[in-house]
Amino acid sequence: MKIMTCPINGPRPVSEFFYWGALREMPNPDTASDDEWAAYVFNKSGAPGVKKEWWCHTASNTWFIAERDTEKDLVLRTYLYGEGE
């Protein structure tokens, strides 16, 4: 069983977690062009690398950020949003 560390509850089996996708900056909807908005809505960074992602520990509904190597499937760091920098 793969283990992931919840910033609040500590190491837990990965089956307790829910993956929500990459952490992305939303462009301002009032000023963004149609192309910029479509790119934000649909496009993804599909190539492998170390990525910042939204995850949720479902048992406690804790949302947090994980830095993960998506090629090796290694979780490098987890922290609450805004607390990792």
Binding site: K2, S15, Y19, G21, A38, G46, A47, T70
Partner: protein, 413 residues
């Protein structure tokens, strides 16, 4: 046939020519380069050489022929999709499949079994009816059947699924089939090879030379090739190639795992899919039960397997077939599925001139192998999208004109 085999016993040297010509060097230039020697890439090469007379073609493969998703899928062929675009496209593919063995002079073990998409809920029945009506409109054998019909086709099934999720009916698609997947890649590969196409295995693409928005060449691990046309048919590696030509796309990669049991006596003729239990099963010609489930729940760009997968899949399988509890699992594996937001592929021309995409084949690419070869070779030869793929182009996202095929995905992903 037995007399032909005898030659192999009596001859000191292998008495047949090899399947493919081994080329020691890359030529300095080709009319077209195809990245990826899987089913789609080799089919495109085959039809380019056979139907369009473009024979100065190199197929570059990082690993070996058919070693990616072509050799990792569960070999199901069907055309009971949901959108008119999808139905017409896959139906053309199914027609091509049916005489491919003749075309190649190679046994693909193409076997028509009948395909059931089991419905355990009212909403699943509703989607089944919707699909059946769209299918019938396009002349495809597809109908909603009741539990009695299913029980007759598969007497071993527990229709109540242990009481958890009773089967209320199914979408039945009589032409649903299975085929031997390696043979497909090998058949197309040999056909292309005989017509002058060069297949280079163990040749990785390192970068792509784009100047002024046009393709100029490809840098590989075995040297530089000049070319003006590149077809990218690399499934789960597509985002890596797109990075080289600086094209953004909605593609995301999740592993899709599958497994087979030990061989058992033939007992399961049709192919069964259950969207509610997230499983599918068929029996191969060797007697192995070929089983799959839904995508892994998060992004990974490798082909690692997990233990959670056979655990979860087996639990659901036992709901349907409790007697399988004594059958052993032989192997499991994974492939990298290149998923799109609307569950339809991304095909055709791109913003880079001379760069053509055959991607977004996620969990549904094997059945489309022949028609992808046909349509992509046409697109590349004429520099115009084939009429069958106009609903699948990359710019549909920019235009918010998606082709919603999710209702027809084999299991709810």
């Amino acid at each position: 046939m037995p007399w032909r085999l005898l030659r192999f016993a009596l001859s000191k040297e292998h008495p047949e020519p090899r399947m493919f010509t081994a080329h020691e060097k890359l030529k300095p230039s080709y009319d077209a380069v195809i990245i990826g020697a899987g089913g789609h890439g080799l089919a495109s090469a085959y039809y380019l050489a056979r139907d369009h007379g473009i024979k100065n073609v190199a197929v570059l493969e990082k690993g070996y022929i058919g070693g990616g998703n072509t050799g990792r899928n569960t070999t199901i062929i069907r055309s009971n999709y949901l959108t008119p675009e999808g139905v017409q496209f896959y139906d053309e593919s199914l027609r091509l499949w049916q005489d491919l063995s003749q075309d190649f002079d190679l046994n693909l073990f193409y076997s028509t079994r009948g395909h059931f998409t089991l419905a355990h809920t009212d909403s699943a029945i509703r989607t089944s009816r919707w699909r059946a009506e769209v299918n019938k409109h396009f002349g495809i054998a597809s109908e909603v059947v009741g539990p009695d019909f299913i029980k007759k086709a598969v007497p071993q099934i527990d229709i109540s699924c242990g009481g958890h999720a009773p089967i209320m009916g199914a979408l039945y698609h009589a032409p649903g089939s299975v085929a031997r997947h390696d043979a497909v890649a090998w058949g197309y590969g040999r056909g292309a090879d005989q017509r002058g196409v060069e297949i280079h295995q163990q040749t990785e693409v390192l970068s792509i030379d784009v100047q002024g928005g046009k393709i100029k060449g490809v840098k590989t691990s075995r040297g530089y090739i000049a070319t003006e046309k590149v077809l990218c048919a690399v499934a789960g590696s597509t985002p890596r190639i797109l990075k080289m030509v600086e094209i953004d796309s909605p593609l995301y990669i999740h592993p899709l795992q599958a497994m087979v049991s030990e061989p058992v006596k033939p007992w399961l003729d049709p192919i069964l899919v259950s969207g509610s239990l997230h499983i599918y099963i068929s029996q191969s010609a060797r007697g192995e039960l070929v089983m799959g489930a839904s995508l892994d729940p998060y992004e990974v760009q490798s082909t690692r397997s997990t233990l959670d997968f056979p655990e979860g899949l087996s639990a659901h399988m036992l709901d349907m077939f409790p007697f399988l509890s004594n059958v052993k699992v032989m192997r499991q594996w994974a492939g990298m599925a290149d998923m799109t937001p609307d569950f339809a592929p991304i095909m055709g021309k791109t913003p880079v001139e001379g760069f053509y995409l055959d991607s977004g084949w996620g969990t549904w690419g094997f059945k489309a192998t022949p028609v992808c070869g046909k349509t992509m070779s046409y697109t590349l030869a004429n520099d115009t999208n084939h009429p069958l793929i106009t609903g699948f182009t990359l710019d549909r996202f920019r235009n918010y004109a998606l082709t919603g095929e999710k209702g027809a995905a084999s299991v709810g992903h």
